[in-house]
Amino acid sequence: MDMFSDPALWLPFVFAGLMGLSILIYVVLDGFDLGVGLLFPFANEGEKDRMIGSIGPFWDANETWLVLAVGLLLVAFPAAHGAILTALYLPVAVMLIGLILRGVAFEFRAKAPPEWKRLWNRAFFAGSLMTSMSQGFMLGMYVMGLTWTLPHVAFALLTAAFLTVGYSFIGATWVIHKSDGLLQLKAIDWAKGGVWGLVLGIGAVSAATPYVSVRIFDKWFSWPEALYLAPLPLLSAALVVGLWVALRRMPFDRDRRSWLPFAMATGLWATAFGGMAYSFYPYVVPEKLTIYEAASAPESLFIILVGTVVVLPTILGYSILAFTIFRGKARELRYD
């Protein structure tokens, strides 16, 4: 195929794929960190420490996927990067301040004088909340084509709430996996309470997107595409049912398969994400700018691709190493 002979054709596609992948990894990994922060007010002091212990060694690396995602957007699609981020100026600022509070609260709550600890716990929650809400808001605005009209903002507020509940859900499934005893039982309850947020969120975005653009509507509801795409919604439905059933029966005997809800939640994110990617392709700024129009010069993309192909597997390798070293139930964090 001559598509591969012209790098200006396949490089933007590859980079859109890489960017999508890092966003997906980000929302799953930092999703559970943020979720743990969102669940903080529901936990008592001792539980808080264990919950922090369950994400302590990971959160920094998890957050780095966001840096990679925005970095890829910036390097591969500079024009889109400017357009998207200036349109989302305020929610981005809210997210950044949220990320700042969340990240430093981690350290300060362990090191500051004990009188301040409650304050930093609150900052940890507030930071996680600001981050999740603004990310959900940006998702909604993006789906609506980045225009600030009242209905669009209203929709974005709705997705903000859903994403927040969705993050606390995946956070709860992570705690189920990393804890035992009373905390685990509590986390199972949290997860039961949160699963609907995810369902409504995915539902709202799936329902809204086709109505925003005729192009997307046709992509989903024309024959025979609808047939090829059917597995996606069916798989999501199956995962939701599976989650529901599993959560009702948990904890399993001898804590077997405590990872199951987290794995299913990840699958659910991935299918939802795949659906969105399919809807928006080939646009990077919805209905305005395609990845081909926004892409950087092929020479520059190629330089990055070479690096990525070598480095990404290495990164995955040592990330797996870290997750293996800190596998098992969370302990309190100690420096020695």
Partner: protein, 456 residues
């Protein structure tokens, strides 16, 4: 105020806040590795005691650096879209390599370095410490490459107003990169030396006279005494390089208006941009010519050469560059005096023999590295104005078209958050020092439960 000036203040505030913490982590990573290796070699507990205290400061600084760095990466898009649209083909790959080769490395191994000691074999923990130090240094390398390229761009061609890379080797090893990178690394080591010396002196004064404090204080003072002459020499070389590539910046640093020989070194002056002259000059004759050209009658460029035919000013505002340069050099000289005096006393009388005023001096200079570093960056960055990429892209052309009120609101929000966090950071460092001095075992558990406090 308009969007341009507000965005500039906002960027300046964000990067100033960010750079404080990398400046600490870049060198502190290596210092921790040094403590760890000394412990591995000697088995003496004092090295581990020093390690245990400073690893906490490292973790805290690292978190501050990471979160403020994330703000930085979004700033390009929210405030300076013209930057990536014009030079994205060059800046993009450099930033991408920073993320891929440095950020992930340090972020992943940080977890193992901080919390893994009891879960992995000793060599893997030492290796993780090394990889974190190496990763922070790599971050600094890539970002300095980019920043230096913005000062001395080469290896590209402009096609339809967009820069396209032609020679990556030339881009990475651009003329000012080696000087800036070396000067920055030394700045980082000096900042950390004075931080460790200051906090250790503080602990010593309030009675925490342990072997770990002693060894940290000594290492830091000797390190500073060795590095500061190197830094001054590097600074001089850096200046000569700038004279070659950005003469208008040197002219502003010296507040020299007319090109000519026998230029004096101004110790004090109030440069007046409107009248294009200095007031209240106090000067040493010929010294600027001597430093910059090594001849008393050497010719030094003047600012009046950088005014366009139509009166357009193509040099930076003078006062800010002039004064920040003097703050940096002044701090450098103070560091030289204090570190050599302290080192001489240490050699003869040991830590016990340090007189009180010297100890207080060290405490006072705890954050002197920050001051010099910020002043140096202000000289560098403001000295490049009105350009964002020297000769290629002006700052005005890169700014985003967002309403000024919006930028003002985020600017205020950032400033409030930064002021609070900076206060908390400094308080917590001294709080940790006081706890350590009281002999409390520094319990790293998040929950400081009733820890039995051993009697003093």
């Amino acid at each position: 105020m308009d969007t341009l000036i507000l965005s500039r203040i906002q960027f300046g505030a964000n990067i100033s806040f960010h750079i404080l913490f990398p400046t600490i982590t870049i060198a502190l990573g290596w210092v921790l590795l040094f403590f760890k290796l000394r412990f591995n070699a000697t088995g003496e507990d004092r090295w581990m005691e020093a390690y245990r205290f400073w690893v906490k400061v490292f973790a805290l600084s690292f978190a501050m650096g990471v979160v403020s760095g994330i703000t930085m990466s979004f700033q390009f898009g929210t405030n300076w879209p013209g930057f990536m649209e014009t030079v994205g083909n060059i800046a993009g790959p450099l930033l991408a390599y920073e993320v891929l080769t440095a950020f992930f490395l340090e972020a992943v191994f940080l977890g193992i370095m901080l919390f893994g000691a009891s879960r992995v074999p000793g060599w893997l923990h030492t290796l993780a410490t090394f990889l974190v130090a190496f990763g922070t240094t790599m971050s600094a390398f890539w970002i300095i490459v980019l920043n230096s390229w913005m000062h001395t761009p080469q290896g590209f061609e402009m096609i339809d107003g967009v820069a396209h890379a032609t020679d990556w080797w030339a881009i990475i090893f651009n003329p000012s990169m080696p000087y800036r990178f070396a000067h920055m690394l030394l700045a980082s080591f000096l900042t950390v030396s004075f931080l460790i010396a200051g906090v250790s002196a503080f602990r010593w004064i309030i009675g925490g006279r342990t072997a770990g404090v002693r060894v940290a204080l000594k290492s830091a003072v000797y390190g500073a005494a060795l590095l500061i002459p190197l830094q001054i020499y590097m600074g001089d070389m850096h200046g000569l390089n700038t004279l070659e590539h950005q003469p208008q910046k040197i002219a502003a640093m010296e507040a020299n208006w007319e090109t000519g020989p026998n230029v004096p070194l101004l110790l004090f002056a109030i440069p007046d941009d409107a009248a294009r002259e200095n007031r209240f000059e106090i000067a040493i004759p010929n010294l600027a010519s001597l430093i910059l050209t090594h001849h008393a009658d050497g010719v030094v460029p003047g600012l009046n050469d950088f005014v366009g035919e139509d009166g357009e000013v193509l040099h930076p505002r003078v006062a800010a560059v002039f004064w920040s340069f003097r703050v940096m050099v002044g701090t450098g000289v103070a560091m030289l005096l204090l570190s050599w005096a302290t080192a001489a006393l240490l050699l003869r009388r040991g830590v016990e023999g340090l007189p009180r005023p010297v100890l207080y001096g060290l405490v006072g200079m705890t954050f002197s590295g920050w001051l010099a570093t910020l002043a140096g960056w202000y000289t560098t960055e403001i000295g490049r104005q009105p350009w964002l990429v020297q000769g290629v892209l002006s700052t005005r052309d890169a700014v985003a078209d967002v309403p000024a009120a919006m930028v003002a609101s985020t600017l205020i929000a950032y400033l409030v958050v930064y002021a609070l966090l900076l206060g908390a950071y400094i308080l917590v460092i001294f709080y940790l020092a006081r706890r350590a001095a009281r002999g409390e075992k520094l319990d790293p558990r998040p929950e400081p439960r009733a820890v039995p406090i051993p009697a003093e």
